[in-house]
Structures are given as C-alpha cells and as structure tokens.
C-alpha cells in the first residue's frame, strides 16, 4: 500500500478523534493499524508476520489479512472502520487466514459519529489453523441519533487446538439496527469464546445469532450475550451450540435486563449428538434484580444511578 495523501491523513485523524480515548492507538512502529473511511484506506501500518491486501470496492473494501506461520504479534492490531458523513453504505469483506501457531489480537473500532442513515455491512470468513489463536474485539461507537444499520456476518473455521475469542460491544451511542450473525466450526481441542455486549435504547432493534458447532473431540465453547434494553428497544437473541464428538463441552449464557417498554426474546438451542458430550445453558431476562438495586440504594444511589451501575457490571 502506498503512503496516504494529506487529505487521507486528515480524514484518518478525524476518524480516530471520534473514538475518543480509543483513538490514540497509532503510536509506535511495533503497532499495526489500518483505517478505512467509507471505501478508502486512509492510514495503515503493518508489522512483520502480518500482511494486509486491500481492494477498493464501490461502497467499501475487500481485505485479505494473513498471519504467517508461527507469527506472534506482541501488540494488538488496530482496525478502524467508519464513516464521518451522515449517510452512506460501508461494506467490508474480510478474509482472514491465521497460519499454524500464529497469534494476533485484533481491536476493531467501528465509528459512525454523525450517522443518520448509514449501513455498515461486514462479511468475513476466518480460517484459524491448528495451534493458532485469533482474537477479534469489535467495539462500536455510534452517535446519539442511532441511524446505523450494522450487519456483521462471520464464518469461522477453527482448526485443531486453535482458539478464537471474539467480543462485540456496543455500549456508547444508539445502536440503531444490529443484525449480528456468527457461525463457528470447531475441530478437536479447539476453544471458542464468543460474547456480545450491547445496550439498546430508543427504538433500537437488535438481533443476535451466535452458532457454534463442536465437531471435534474435546472442543470447547462458551457463547454469551449480555444486553441491557430500555425505552422501546427490542432484541432477539439466538444462541445455538451443537456437540457431536466425545468430551466436547459447551455453555450458552444469555442475560438481558429490560426496562421501560423494551422487549427481549432469548432462544438458546443446544443439541448434543454424542453421549460423551455435554452442553449447558442459562438464560435470564427481566428487570434489574431488586436485591442488587436495594443494596446499592441502601448505599445512597438513586434508582437510575444504581441501575446504571448494575448494567455497567453486566456489560463489563
């Protein structure tokens, strides 16, 4: 990739500034980063072991991220996707290939601070080779008006002994519409850890579909969804975990706090096809726990402050 123009540098600066405290990540030669505004790469820096190839699309980019065999990136890789205008479409197509025994922790910051009518689509296919670890933390920062449709769809193939940890977080600004869809195939001895943390406000609509298939012996998975909904927000959460190999172990956990006129629905699906496999699930939907509330109020917090603290904990 060639160096950025002055205009691109300025756009990158504005994009990162919108991230607030999270925007100060471009420091040091040993920290890899990539900034994409709309369909344009406005900043990037790579480190040994990591290659990123990008094609520009009409309304986004297609990126090939490659981690070399045995490459272990000491610092997190920062990806920043966003749009500063009020309207538009950003489509990210991402192909990730983490070779054997590699390690990378990706911090993806998605920022749409001025959105009124923006759609952010992510289609990713991820291959994590045996012994590799790939972590992907996606944090969304939206404006106060919502106005964003977020559609992340990811398919992951987890090799033997590989690890995939992913977090999706949207707790600042209005969510808008989220249609989250992850599906992971887990080979023997692999570990999947997937969590979504979202606050829904106003008329936000949230749909989460997390699917894990424990296909290999001793594969393990935890799927978690923690949501706090208020006003007229609605959420549907589908957590599916299947186990079809001996000693496969999994747990599904869905917790949702509902306030005001918000509506939450949780559908945990567990399917076990082997007598030596084991999956558990728990789901809790309801108002803020009264004992938690009363405890904090007995320390002098009013109901709103106590609720905020409880929600902060749930989404921590």
């Amino acid at each position: 990739m060639s160096g950025p123009t002055a205009q691109q540098v300025e756009t990158a600066r504005e994009l990162l500034a919108s991230l607030g405290d999270f925007g100060g990540h471009i420091k040091g030669d040993d920290i890899a980063h990539l900034e994409v505004h709309g369909n344009e790469v406005v900043g990037s820096h790579l480190v040994p072991g990591l290659t990123v190839d990008v094609d520009q699309l009409d309304e986004g980019i297609e990126a090939w991220i490659h981690l070399a065999k045995g490459a272990r990136l000491r610092n997190p890789v920062h990806l920043c996707f966003g749009m500063l205008p009020t309207e538009g479409l950003q489509r990210i197509i991402m192909h990730v290939d983490a070779e054997e025994d590699s390690f990378a922790s990706i911090q993806a910051h998605c920022t749409f601070p001025n959105a009124i009518d923006i759609t952010h689509k992510m289609d990713a296919d991820v291959r994590i080779a045996p012994g590799a670890t790939y972590e992907y933390f996606e944090r969304h920062l939206h404006g106060a008006e919502g106005g964003v449709i977020v559609v992340p769809k990811t398919r992951v193939d987890l090799g033997e002994g590989a690890r995939f940890k992913t977090e999706f977080e949207l707790i600042k600004g209005m969510a808008g519409v989220i249609d989250f869809d992850y599906e992971v195939q887990c080979a023997a001895d692999s570990i999947l850890d997937m969590i979504a943390r979202i606050i829904g406000r106003g008329h936000d609509r949230i749909r989460i579909n997390e699917v894990g298939h424990l296909n290999g012996q001793s594969a393990r998975a935890v799927l978690q969804s923690h949501l706090a909904l208020r006003d007229h927000a609605t959420a549907e959460v589908y957590n599916t975990l299947t186990a079809s190999a001996p000693w496969a172990r999994g747990h599904v956990d869905c917790k949702e706090i509902v306030q005001g006129n918000a509506v939450a629905k949780a559908v945990p699906i567990v399917e076990v096809n082997h007598p030596l496999a084991h999956i558990t699930h728990e789901a809790a939907i309801g108002s803020v726990d009264s004992k938690q509330l009363q405890t904090l109020m007995s320390r002098g917090l009013d109901e709103d402050a106590a609720t905020d603290l409880i929600v902060e904990g749930l989404l921590a």
Partner: protein
C-alpha cells in the same frame, strides 16, 4: 431520646401483622442486638427501618434525630446515614469490588478501597478488581459488603445475621468493624443468635410476634430467650409477671 426511634410501627404482610405496634429507641454510638425466634419480625424490622419497598406500607412513625423519615425512600434514608448489611449479600455479575465499594463511599478515593478492604482482612491487590459475583464465597461477599459500609461512614448500620455463613477469621474481622463503628459513634442494630456476636452488644431487645416484649442487657435478654422462648415457636408471649421478673 434515641438517635433512631420507632413509634407504634405496624406492618401487615399477607393479612398478618408482622410488626405489631412496635415501639423502640436506639441510642447513638451504641451496639444493639435484636433477639427473637424465627418469624418474630427481626429482619422485617430492619427492612422497615431501611424503607425497603416491600415494607413501605407500614403505619406508625420512624424518627431519625427526632425528624420523621417514614416518607423517605431507601436512598434518601441512606443519604441521611442509614444503611443495611444483608444476611445474604447480593451478587453483582461483572461489577468490580472497587466500584461497588466506592459507589456509596464518603471519600471516593482509591485509597478508601485499600483501607476498608484491609480492615475486613482482604488483600486489596487480590480483591479490588474481582467481580462481586458467584466466584466469591459467601464469607468473602459478606466482608466486601462490610467494607462498602465502612467506606460509607454511616450513622446507623443495620446488620442482619452478620455471622451467618462465615468462618472464624471473617468473624474476627466483623468484630474489628464493630469496633470501628463504635469508635466513630455509629449506631449498630444487629440481628443475631450468635453468643460470640452478642458479646459485642450493649443492649438487647427481645422480639416476639412483631413487638418488643423486653429490653435490657444482653445477659438478661439472651437468658430469657434461651430459657423461655427458644422452643415455643413464639406462642409463649410472657405474662406481665414473667416480664417484670426479667426487665431491668
């Protein structure tokens, strides 16, 4: 006049009077014990003083420093210095110990977290960033709750069974906290059946059928409770003659 007074407090739950015209005074800077059989109304009394929602429909009056607090909410009472340590402290998924302690602390300084955790015998370096959730034992949560109350520097502390579910080491730390409360002039009202805990109280009240039927020294009241009440399932309301025999 006590710092906290209850006047003719009656509370019905499910058509039954759990507190039944109860009147009692608690003295500033003193440690008081509430003794009585199961169902006598001890925990209900604590919840009523705290103003918990289930108990707000009481009749009668509760006064703090001579002013009625009956119409105040839980947090308004807390801001006037009343707080409650639950028999079974709440669990908070994800909420860190330091955030929990500082939520109600007078001095919202990191040093406060360290000081109160050390006071209840927990290493701040190990506990401050842990979550107040199911990964902590009941005894640890009890100590952390006590730490949060120490940080709050309240005027009146209600302690519901402070000794339940904890080990000897934790109990010793609770006694340290009681010493701190006494030194600060905090009024303590505790519900307990433990002889060890009772030794730290100066006054005791015997509750039966939602009323204080006797008050006096711990020795008097506990002796009466042990001899006359413990097997009676609170049907044995003492006669005037019996009460005269034990009342100071």
């Amino acid at each position: 006049m006590g710092v906290l007074e209850l006047k003719d407090v009656t509370l019905e739950l499910g058509g039954k009077a759990i507190l039944n015209g109860l009147s009692v005074d608690f003295w500033e800077g003193h440690v008081h014990a509430l003794i009585g059989p199961n169902g006598a109304g001890k925990s209900t009394l604590a919840g009523t003083i705290m103003g918990l929602p289930d108990y707000r429909h009481m009749t009668g009056d509760i006064l703090l420093d001579g002013e009625s607090i009956t119409g105040l909410t839980v947090y308004e009472r807390a801001r006037r210095g009343i707080t409650l340590a639950w028999q079974e402290p709440a669990r908070f998924e994800g909420l860190k110990v330091d955030r929990f302690i500082l939520a109600g602390a007078q001095d919202k300084n990191v040093g406060t977290v360290r000081r109160v955790l050390e006071r209840v015998g927990l290493d701040p370096d190990k506990y401050a960033k842990r979550a107040v959730d199911k990964t902590l034992s009941g005894g640890e949560r009890k100590r952390i709750e006590l730490a949060s109350i120490l940080a709050m520097e309240p005027r009146v502390v209600l302690m519901d069974e402070p000794d339940s579910g904890i080990d000897v080491e934790a109990l010793a730390r609770i006694f340290d906290a009681l010493a701190d409360f006494r030194e600060r002039g905090t009024t303590v009202i505790m519900i307990t059946h433990s002889q060890e805990v009772l030794k730290h109280a100066e006054h005791a009240f015997l509750l039966c059928n939602g009323r204080v039927i006797d008050k006096g020294t711990v020795g008097h009241i506990d002796g009466y409770f042990g001899d006359k009440c413990i097997c009676c399932d609170h049907e044995n309301v003492p006669t005037q003659e019996e009460m005269a025999g034990v009342t100071e």
